[in-house]
């Protein structure tokens, strides 16, 4: 029998080698130097054509490589807009907006100066129904653009459309493309733009790994503070947080569930951003369902849902209850909900009044952990009100088919659905989905109010801010009174970043590296 042994000398040798290894801490150059900003996004890019962008990383890249007439400031400051590619952007009357491009904007690849005709080409292209752009709605009120000369143009609208400055011009569809470049490319491209003009150049793309932007030497606008931006693609929030702690990047969004721990014990040299995103969460109560046609039954559901429990259990109390689909804190937000809190006795009384016993409803939900946890709390809450709930989880692709009228009459059979949409700065962007024409598309509650529709049309045309607030508040009252909605919250946006940075976050929750600053 051969024994396995180790003598003192061998042990000391091994321990010494291990200790030396640990002491060396080679500190390989994973961290970039001070001129490189490293941010993390969740998914890879599919296209750099603004007309077909999916958001996410594409949104971030396009803010670097293209120019829009105006741009947003930071989400935490209320996302104020300011001129960007235009030195002048002026509303002449409700249907006419004049603009003057800043001097010196130049296309890459020798396509010459950026002109008002390029603006005309870009906006009219995206608005044209034949192109099939999902962002065409941003320019649905566009009649035409008049290119006055090389730098001056006039936007003519079909009817007054006040949200143009926050819904259309600074957003996805507002990125300007080169007419000549696009014609040379045959009218379409995916990941290789024929010409770009923005503060950055699209320098490198390692599929599903990293995108690199470097400064555009020909950019005439304010110089970005970082000469290079590296965008790392990490889909999982937890992996991203670990990678941040390993100094792989300087800015990342983190999981809501990780927020408390990070606040208690943040990684070294790190600041935490907590904000309310524009993504709003609500419970749809479908009045088309045979079980929910009586408004008393729908109201029983409204009184039976304890939103406070959801905010504690799912969102760690990071965000308050929403008073509608409009972002809390904005001037358009309602002061309070009509139903202030759960009231199980009232719920039971309403069911009794409606003559309903043993009510069992199905709750349709996407199958990720946050949404499933929310659904379970709703289930437990309604159980206390005497309403049984069966949770029906779907993956994302299957979920959207459930309420789609083009796939049959199934949308009329949905009872409850937990939903969330990415919203915008203008209330019209969030309220548009509950118009009657959206029934069987994205209005899954069957909410069909002529007053709401009329108010929506007034809201987009109205220029008086006070009247716009009144209109949007009334629309949310109508939603709640219908018994078709239970507003839950606007999801929290939690991100961590190095303390030497001042991040700028767009209303959609994505960082805008062009405007990131270094702290003195």
């Amino acid at each position: 029998m051969t024994g396995w042994n180790i003598d003192r000398r061998k042990f000391l040798k091994a321990a010494g080698a291990l200790g030396a290894g640990l002491m060396m801490r080679p500190g390989f150059a994973w961290s970039a130097d001070g001129d490189t900003l490293r941010i993390r996004m969740e998914g890879d890019l599919q296209t750099l054509d603004p007309a077909f962008m999916n958001g996410g990383i594409e949104d971030v890249i396009m803010r670097g490589i293209y120019v829009t007439l105006n741009r947003f400031g930071d989400l935490r400051e209320g996302s104020p807009w300011a001129p960007w590619g235009a030195e002048k952007l002026e509303q002449k009357d409700p249907k006419t907006i004049a603009f003057t491009l800043i001097d010196g904007l130049k296309w890459s690849n020798g396509f010459g100066a950026v002109t008002a005709d390029d603006v005309k080409f870009s906006y009219e292209r995206i608005a044209h129904p034949d192109l099939g752009s999902p962002w065409a709605y941003q320019f649905e009120q566009l009649d035409h653009i008049e290119a006055v000369d090389a730098r001056n143009g006039i936007i003519h609208l079909k009817s007054p459309y006040q949200p143009l400055f926050v819904v259309s011009l600074p957003y996805y569809g507002g990125h300007i493309l080169s007419r000549v470049g696009m014609e040379k490319a045959g009218g379409k491209f995916t990941t290789e733009p024929p010409a770009t003009c923005g503060p950055y150049i699209f320098a490198d793309w390692q599929q599903k790994q990293k995108v690199t932007l470097t400064t555009n030497p020909n950019w005439p606008g304010p110089r970005p503070e970082f000469g290079k931006v590296e965008i790392y693609i990490v889909s999982d929030d937890q992996a991203a947080q670990l990678a941040y702690e390993a100094d792989a990047f300087d800015y990342t969004k983190i999981a809501t569930s990780a927020t408390k721990a990070v606040k208690v014990s943040p990684p070294a040299d790190t600041a935490v951003i907590e904000a309310q995103s524009t993504r709003y969460v609500w419970l749809t109560i479908n009045m088309l369902s045979p079980r929910l046609q009586d408004i008393k039954v729908r109201q029983a559901v409204q009184y039976g849902v304890d939103v406070g429990q959801i905010l504690i259990g799912v969102y760690d109390d990071l965000v308050p209850r929403s008073t509608g689909v409009v972002q809390p804190g904005s001037k358009f937000a309602r002061a309070k909900n009509l139903i202030e809190g759960a009231d199980y006795e009232k719920s039971a009384a309403l069911l009794a009044e409606a003559g309903v016993n043993d009510l069992t409803l199905t709750l349709t939900v996407m199958n990720d952990s946050i949404r499933t946890a929310t659904a379970q709390i709703i289930q437990a809450s309604l159980e206390q009100a005497g309403i049984k709930v069966e949770i029906q989880p779907y993956d994302e692709a299957a979920f959207w088919g459930v309420g789609d009228k083009t796939q049959g009459d199934g949308y009329k059979n949905i009872d409850l659905a937990l939903m969330d949409f990415a919203g915008g700065v203008d209330p019209s962007e969030n309220l548009v989905w509950f118009r009657p024409d959206q029934i069987g598309a994205y209005n899954w509650s069957g909410f069909d109010s002529p007053e709401y529709e009329a108010a929506y049309e007034d809201l987009v045309a109205e220029m008086d801010p006070a009247k716009r607030i009144e209109l949007s508040n009334r629309m949310e009252d109508l939603m709640e009174q219908s018994g078709c909605f239970m507003f839950i919250c606007h999801q929290p946006l939690v991100a961590i970043h190095r303390t030497g940075l001042e991040p700028v976050i767009y209303p959609d929750g994505h960082p805008n590296p062009v405007l990131f600053k270094k702290k003195a």
Binding site: L22, F28, T190, Q206, Y232, G401, D404, A422, Y442
Partner: protein
């Protein structure tokens, strides 16, 4: 041997065709609307219709299957629905990363596992045998994603020796090698234990056979008996195991690629399934199945070459 090889390859092609037909049918039976996923809450019915036509989803399933095979035979695996890039390009960009990861993990598992198994046999009944036994069973029981997270915490977060994410810089072999260490370790660790146990068990059986006793009686050194006479026979079950296990290694790659944000086939196919990007799903599955079937055939042929009894059975 030639007849055996032809039969195995024929069977491989049959399996490939069967898998693709099943996959195609399964993909279309799964509920979900790719147009809604792609277009999100901004989609109009007209846009959805346009996209469905572009994807060919308005055609009967049998027609789509026939078209897929017809195009695949000419090397055309279709186009990514969203980026419009050829699926073959996407797969070929991702495949090297996954293959490098799989092969490195497998090589590490074999290079460490086989000697450990042999050492266990040579030192059977000693402390070394016991320690190898305990460690082997221990590492088999630890899932690869747990190894991934802990190695990330230790080597990237605490020690900062290795990069936390990615596959390394393009064209920089050192950076790529460093980026490979932790993902390969995460996959290989369980396999090291598995192979060590497998080799030990087979070897113990072989060591009792007459030809080994004869070798001993001739006074050959133990290492020579083990490496030259015993291992040649004892390795056969391990080769089968490794070939079959490649599928498991590739599925582990899905988790590991997610944890280390490493580009590869795992992430490509997961993203494609989630977005119902059917051409990418089908193209990727076709290529991965072809690779898997090829490796299984190669393992069968290698076993036949090492063990004449296999060829003899087939000849009979």
């Amino acid at each position: 041997m030639l007849t055996y090889a032809i039969k195995r390859i024929g069977l491989g092609l049959l399996i490939l065709t069967f898998v693709m037909v099943v996959m195609y049918t399964a993909v279309f039976l799964v509920p979900g609307d790719p147009a809604s996923v792609a277009l999100g809450p901004r989609a109009t019915p007209e846009l959805k219709k346009m996209l469905i036509e572009r994807m060919g989803l308005d055609q009967p399933v049998w027609w789509q299957i026939v078209e897929f095979f017809r195009n695949a035979l000419t090397g055309n695996l279709g186009y990514d629905v969203w980026s419009n890039r050829p699926v073959s390009t996407l797969v070929m960009e991702a495949l090297p990363n996954t293959l490098v990861l799989g092969v490195t993990s497998l090589a590490a598992a074999l290079l460490i596992g086989v000697p450990l198994g042999c050492l266990s046999v040579v030192r059977r009944g000693t402390a070394a045998d016991a320690i190898i036994g305990v460690l082997s069973v221990g590492v088999i029981a630890v899932p690869s994603f747990v190894v991934a997270i802990y190695s990330l915490l230790l080597f990237a977060v605490t020690l900062r020796w290795l990069p936390a994410i990615g596959a390394g810089e393009t064209g920089d072999l050192v950076s790529q090698a460093k980026a490979l260490v932790m993902p390969a370790l995460a996959i290989a660790l369980g396999w090291i234990g598995y192979i060590a146990r497998m080799v030990r068990a087979s070897m113990m059986e072989v060591m009792g056979e007459p030809h080994i006793r004869t070798a001993r009686s001739f006074g050959l050194p133990e290492w020579k008996i083990v490496s030259k006479y015993a291992l040649r026979i004892a390795i056969i079950p391990t080769i089968s195991l490794v070939a079959v296990g490649l599928g498991s290694i590739l599925s582990s790659a899905v988790f590991v690629e997610a944890v280390f944000a490493r580009p590869g086939i795992g992430r490509l196919v997961t993203d494609a399934v989630n977005t119902r990007n059917y051409p990418v799903v089908m193209g990727t599955v076709l290529i991965m199945t072809a690779i898997y079937v090829s490796i299984t055939i190669a393992a069968d042929l290698l076993i036949a070459r090492l063990d004449p009894r296999v060829r003899d059975v087939f000849r009979d």
